[in-house]
């Protein structure tokens, strides 16, 4: 009982710290959005990768970076309406 409570609290603390973490009730939309955002962040963080992608897509590195940034806004579209 107390244990469960503590796990719950720990999970909440974890989620406050790391937005990308999930739990048993995470929806597909939340998860995929996180994946997309994490991916974009990762591309930008590794400059050789960014460089490679820019060459492949035939655009400037900065443009690719900008696209990555913009892609992070609602990467998977708006959240689907919750059905009650």
């Amino acid at each position: 009982m107390a244990d469960k409570l503590r796990t719950q609290q720990q999970l909440e603390a974890l989620q406050n710290k790391y937005i990308g973490t999930g739990h048993a009730d995470t929806t597909k939309h939340e998860w995929t959005s996180n994946i997309a955002r994490d991916s974009y962040a990762s591309y930008q963080g590794h400059s050789p990768l960014l460089h490679y992608m820019s060459i492949g897509m035939g655009q400037g590195v900065e443009r690719t970076r900008m696209k990555c940034m913009e892609g992070m806004v609602l990467p998977c579209g708006p959240a689907p309406a919750t059905e009650e």
């Binding site: 244990d3 999930g22 048993a24 994490d38 991916s39 963080g45 897509m57």
Partner: protein, 1227 residues
């Protein structure tokens, strides 16, 4: 020392050994000395004897009394003990328990009454000082809820007026008596001589005394204390007065009663009701009368039933069994009770046996009566309906919880009553229940707090807290209830704030540190819940309450409020209070609040320092002496808290403070000096120099003061002044030292412990400035003084000075006198004291090679003392060897050391474990400095003697032997043969059971050394056998030892045998093997890569075992292997193990699941994130929540630890918007 001497010692020692054997080692050969504390007896009886010791010692380490300050309000607070707030759990004493008790309670033997039962001693009320007991005079019930602020204020005004009139009448009465108009000759001894010389300030003092109502005993102080011997004349005089004017025991006349007449004043019982100003000694007897606004039931007479005098037992109802036995069984019939008859249940009202007729506590002889079994809880229910089995149920509880057993049909009760009963039940569970009951009840109370409402809750909790028989545990629990409930109720508590304060404020002056902390917490939560405005309006009327106790506690509570809500919010109010024109009490309390704030908050006052100082600046020149004193104390507290900053805030008060110090005398001066002492260290150099010069003449004058309080202050201020950089050594030498040593280095100072401490401290502080030589030169002659306490004080001072500054400053002549003196002091001690030992050790170590000429003499002293009859002397001598071994080596006295160690070796048969431990310690220190090879006697003789000692169960002995043996095993294992080492191995196994971690660790390391010396096979065999024992701790330690052996002797020497052992079909052994593997792989780290494939089958087996613990331990092994082989090409094996590990993620037992998750994490590091994540994707969106939950846990762990590495491995999702096209780019 000559060889002849040496021989003589040896001979004496042999004789002693032989005679010791004859008396079969009994203690009869030892001198029994009851006046000394036994070294072999643990003082901590609570811990070691399971409560066998007397209950009085239970609080030995605590502050069992508040330092004198609370006793007389602020008067004695001049030297508030600095450690009041430090929360130290263990007393830092080396004194007998009796001495500790004496210092803790102040009046030895009065409080820890042997005749008092255990429960009585556990009760809080029985430990309280009379001042603290005044809390019972406050009154919770009497307070109407709906009283407005105005009404309260008016009521207080009336109380004050009553008090004033009463004082006036008393004064006139006294004047009449003094004038001798009716009882002239009878009152001869007590005539008050009015001072004929009157100046302004004295006048003010008199006036202040007139007005000062409640603390009668406080102003009785300055008068010379009555000697006990003239009591016989005093008592009849008092009585006579009582008969004639009906104004008996009040006032100045008996205010300072000696405690010998503490028995309730029976003869003046009638008069006591009229007496308002009571001495603190008769509080218990006359508790009913004088509370300012007493309610009838508010101050129940405390039941002072003594042991065996409770006559109510005699009148108790007989049980059925007893009646059966007494009455004839034949020819009689037991009738049924008539219809409608209802047996009486236990009385709802408290029957307090009157205190007077049975005078119990006067300490006279009492016949011990056998305790009637019927009186032991028979009348009390052990089981309350709807509550269940309680831990205990006291008679007093019946008053509060009696309703629960009245057997009323609950269906007929109204909702309100039901609610009340519900609360009652929960409270009873919390207070008297078992821990699990308590927990659930507390939770229910908390959760339903708003539903129950503040009224019903507090109406029941608060009276419980006022109960006289309350014990610490109960109070703690009830306070906890309040705390929780407060949190939930929030602003609903407002109507109850005052009631709660009345109950909680006394906690702020409790002797127990934790009670004080609890009290602060509650009040601060209360302040946050009720809000500042409400707190102020509630507490305002108490600020100028007639009762000093109320004002004192209110001030403390206000300080807590300030720390909770912030000083700035409270500052305007404080400013107004401190400038109050209406009453000096208000100003006094206001200043006191400001004094308490820095004590509570420490350096957090710094931002508001200016404001706080400005608040009280004007009170430094108050017309009331008391206010001036408390102001100076508040300034001292502020300066102390803000040290070393904030001098600019004090600028305005410097002048009044210094000029004020010149005008004051007595208590007031002490306070001013204290403030000066704390402010000087804040100043920069030139100012501190100037201001010290200004104050020094007063200090020098007060050196001669006979007042203890003043002495303490003066000493403190001197040490503070000496500590500042502006005061030069030359100045101190010229102006201070002579007077200081003349007034304070006298034998009398050594007798009182507090003075002793203060003088030593101050001298050391002076020494830090003027140098070692100067100080030692002045006191070195005292080392040969005839008073032992004085010698001790000298040694302690020298020790502190020299350890702080070294001995370079000591010239040759002085050095000689010093060593000579300290040797003399050491030899002459009648009670062996750690102070002497430390002093000797420090001096010798500080002198270093300069000691060489004295060493022979020192050693011969040691040798003689080693041969002493008294165990403590021998122990001390051995301890001294430990201290000076290094210096002896430096001086090249190897020869002497050889002799010493030979003698010590002879003493290894010592019977007292404490002494044996010290002797072993001395041997160890000698071995350490001379080295194994040149040790005398040779190691091969020494070690066999140590083997049996390893069996000794005493911790000190164990620790020292294991250390010595380990050292030998490490440095010179070849000097002993393998068989001896094996024997030692066996003995070491027992050490693994030791309670002390240090011993277990040393034993484990020693296994490693021995294994290295004689090869691992035999040691390993021993250890593996030890895996079969029952004790878990022993097995764990064995496992650790195997790990250590494997580490020191390479794993391949150990693993085969270890893995073979796994085939033993016994759970403990297999587990032990797994555990050893776990430690082994933890220790060997990367070396593991060579053994992975060898152990994989074993782990495989363990991971698919039915037993949870097996799998758990195996998971731990996997974890350590995996972490060891990261990047070393063992991925295939790790993946294999992961496959076996993975099904275990559905385990629910916390330990198992934690180990499994850790192992998976470790494998993820070894084989890469991608591979392991492939396992995880499968379950993240599984239809069953039970499956999803652990999978998400794995996902989260992976995400936290290596989110970036996961990016390339996320599963491809074939939806338009979710495709990660960037990753598809291919050039």
């Amino acid at each position: 020392m000559s060889d002849a001497d040496f021989e003589r010692v040896r001979k004496a020692q042999n004789e002693r050994n032989i005679s010791g054997k004859k008396t079969s080692g009994g203690a009869s050969g030892q001198r029994t000395n009851n006046t000394k504390a036994s070294l072999t007896e643990a003082f901590d009886t609570e811990l070691y004897d399971g409560g066998g010791g007397s209950g009085a010692d239970k609080f030995a380490g605590f502050n069992t009394s508040i330092p004198a300050d609370v006793d007389d309000g602020d008067e004695d607070e001049v030297m508030r003990d600095a450690d009041e707030e430090d929360g130290r759990l263990v007393g830092q004493y080396t004194a007998t328990a009796a001495q500790i008790g004496e210092w803790a309670s102040g009046d030895a033997g009065e409080e820890g009454d042997m005749m008092q039962s255990k429960e009585k001693q556990a009760q809080i009320a029985n430990r309280e000082t009379d001042y603290q007991k005044r809390r019972f005079r406050r009154n919770v019930e009497g307070e109407a809820d709906g009283k407005t602020y105005r009404e309260t204020m008016q009521e207080r005004e009336i109380e004050r007026e009553e008090e004033r009139v009463r004082r006036l009448v008393e004064e006139q009465e006294k004047a009449r008596i003094a004038a001798g108009d009716d009882e002239g000759e009878e009152m001869e001894g007590l005539v008050e001589h009015k001072a004929s010389l009157k100046d302004g300030s004295a006048d003010a003092d008199v006036k202040f005394e007139d007005e000062n109502g409640a603390n009668g005993h406080a102003e009785a102080k300055p008068r010379a204390r009555k000697r006990r011997w003239d009591l016989s004349t005093e008592t009849p005089a008092t009585n006579g007065e009582a008969h004639t004017n009906g104004h008996a025991t009040n006032g100045e006349v008996v205010a300072k009663k000696s405690r010998w007449d503490a028995t309730p004043t029976v003869d003046s019982a009638a008069a006591a009701a009229a007496a308002k100003r009571r001495s603190k000694w008769d509080v218990a007897a006359a508790a009913g009368g004088a509370t300012p606004a007493p309610g009838p039931g508010a101050t129940p007479v405390q039941s002072i039933m003594g042991f065996g005098t409770d006559i109510s037992n005699r009148n108790a109802a007989l049980s059925d069994e007893e009646l059966d036995e007494m009455l004839p069984s034949e020819g009689y019939k037991i009738l049924e009770a008539p219809p409608g008859y209802e047996p009486l249940r236990a009385p709802a009202r408290r029957i307090a046996p009157s205190a007077t007729p049975v005078n119990t506590n006067n300490g006279g002889f009492m016949m011990q009566e056998p305790v009637d079994p019927r009186s032991m809880g028979k009348q009390l229910p052990s089981d309350i309906p709807g509550v269940g089995d309680l831990q205990f149920f006291k008679a007093e509880d019946m008053n509060y919880f009696g309703k629960l057993v009245d057997g009323v049909d609950e269906n007929e009760l109204s909702v309100e009553e039901l609610k009340q009963r519900k609360i009652m039940r929960l409270l009873l569970k919390v207070k008297n229940g078992t821990p699990p009951m308590r927990k659930t009840a507390l939770r229910q109370l908390t959760d339903n707090a708003r539903h129950f409402g503040a009224g019903p809750l507090f109406d029941q909790i608060l009276p419980l807290l006022m109960e006289k028989s309350l014990e610490d545990q109960e109070r703690h629990l009830l306070v906890k209830v309040i705390d929780r409930v407060l949190y939930k109720l929030d602003d609903l508590v407002r109507p109850y704030v005052h009631k709660i304060l009345v109950v909680i404020e006394p906690l702020l002056i409790d002797q127990d540190y934790y009670a004080r902390v609890e009290g602060r917490e509650i009040i601060s939560n209360l302040a946050k819940a009720a809000g500042l405005a409400h707190m102020i309006s509630t507490m305002r009327p108490d600020i100028d309450h007639v009762d000093e106790y109320v004002r004192n506690t209110t001030a403390r509570a206000f300080a807590v409020v300030a720390s909770a809500l912030g000083i700035p919010t409270l500052l305007p109010f404080l400013k107004a209070v401190c400038k109050s024109k209406k009453s000096w009490q208000a100003r006094h309390t206001g200043v006191k609040i400001i004094q308490q704030i820095p004590i509570l908050m420490g350096c957090a006052v710094l931002p508001h320092l200016k404001g706080l100082v400005d608040c009280i600046a004007e009170n430094l020149n108050d017309e009331q002496a008391k206010v001036r004193t408390v102001t100076s104390l508040a300034l001292a507290a502020l300066a102390e808290a803000s040290n070393p900053f904030g001098i600019e805030s004090f600028d305005d008060i410097l002048n009044p403070l210094w000029t004020g110090a010149r005008k004051q005398r007595g208590k007031g001066l002490a306070g001013f000096l204290k403030a000066v002492g704390y402010i000087i260290p804040l100043m920069d150099e030139e100012y501190s120099n100037y201001y010290t010069g200004q104050i020094m003449e007063i200090l020098l004058r007060e050196f001669q003061s006979p007042d203890e309080e003043m002495k303490k202050v003066v000493l403190k201020v001197v040490s503070q002044c000496a500590g500042t950089s502006g005061v030069t050594a030359q100045y101190l030498k010229d102006k201070v030292l002579n007077d200081f040593f003349k007034s304070f280095w006298v034998r009398r100072m050594a007798l009182d412990k507090r003075n002793y401490k203060q003088v030593v401290e101050t001298t050391v502080d002076l020494g830090n400035k003027v140098g070692v030589g100067e100080i030692v030169e002045r006191i070195v002659n005292n080392l040969k003084d005839e008073s032992e306490a004085y010698r001790k004080m000298t040694v302690e001072t020298i020790e502190k000075v020299i350890s702080a500054m070294g001995a370079a400053d000591i010239n040759e002549r002085l050095e000689e006198r010093l060593v000579d003196g300290i040797l003399h002091a050491f030899q002459e001690q009648s009670v062996e004291d750690i102070v002497m030992l430390n002093g000797f050790g420090t001096v010798v170590n500080a002198l270093g090679t300069r000691c060489k000429p004295y060493l022979p003499q020192v050693v011969s002293t040691i040798l003689w003392r080693l041969n002493n009859k008294s165990a403590t002397v021998r122990q001390q001598a051995a301890d001294l060897v430990t201290r000076i071994a290094i210096v002896m080596k430096q001086c090249g006295e190897d020869n002497l050391m050889g002799k010493l160690s030979t003698v010590l070796y002879e003493y290894l048969g010592e019977e007292y474990p404490e002494v044996l431990g010290s002797i072993l310690g001395a041997m160890r220190s000698i071995v350490t400095v001379v080295g194994i090879s040149s040790m005398q006697p040779p190691i091969k003789d020494l070690l066999p003697r140590l083997t049996p000692i390893l069996r000794n169960r005493h911790e000190k002995v164990q620790e020292n032997t294991i250390d010595l043996v380990g050292r030998i095993a490490d440095r010179g294992p070849e000097s002993v043969n393998a068989r001896e080492w094996m024997r030692i191995c066996f003995e070491l196994l027992d050490m693994l059971k030791a309670h002390k971690k240090g011993i277990r660790r040393a034993a484990n390391n020693t296994f490693g050394f021995i294994a290295k010396a004689i090869g691992p096979q035999d040691v390993l065999a021993t250890l593996l056998n030890n895996l079969r024992v029952q004790e878990r701790q022993s097995r764990v330690c064995t496992a650790v030892a195997i790990g250590i052996v494997a580490e020191t002797c390479a794993p391949f020497t150990v693993l085969p045998a270890l893995m073979n052992e796994y085939r033993v079909p016994e759970l403990n052994v297999q587990n032990g093997v797994l555990k050893s593997l776990s430690f082994l792989f933890e220790y060997i780290g990367e070396m593991a890569k060579d053994y992975v494939y060898a152990v994989t089958p074993l782990i495989e087996d363990a991971l698919i075992d039915r037993d949870q613990v097996h799998r758990q331990t195996a998971a731990a092994v996997v974890k350590h292997i995996a972490l060891g082989v990261v990047g070393l090409g063992c991925e295939d094996a790790m993946l294999h193990l992961l496959n076996l590990l993975y099904p275990n993620i559905f385990e629910t037992s916390p330990h198992v699941i934690d180990r499994v998750i850790e192992a998976i994490d470790a494998v993820r590091l070894a084989v890469g994130t991608g591979a392991v994540m492939n396992y995880v994707w499968a379950g993240l969106f599984h239809p069953a929540r039970k499956v999803r939950t652990p999978y998400w846990r794995l996902y989260n762990d992976a995400y936290v630890q290596s989110a970036d590495a996961m990016v390339p491995y996320y599963p491809p999702i074939e939806e338009e918007r979710l495709r990660r096209v960037e990753l598809m780019v291919m050039i």
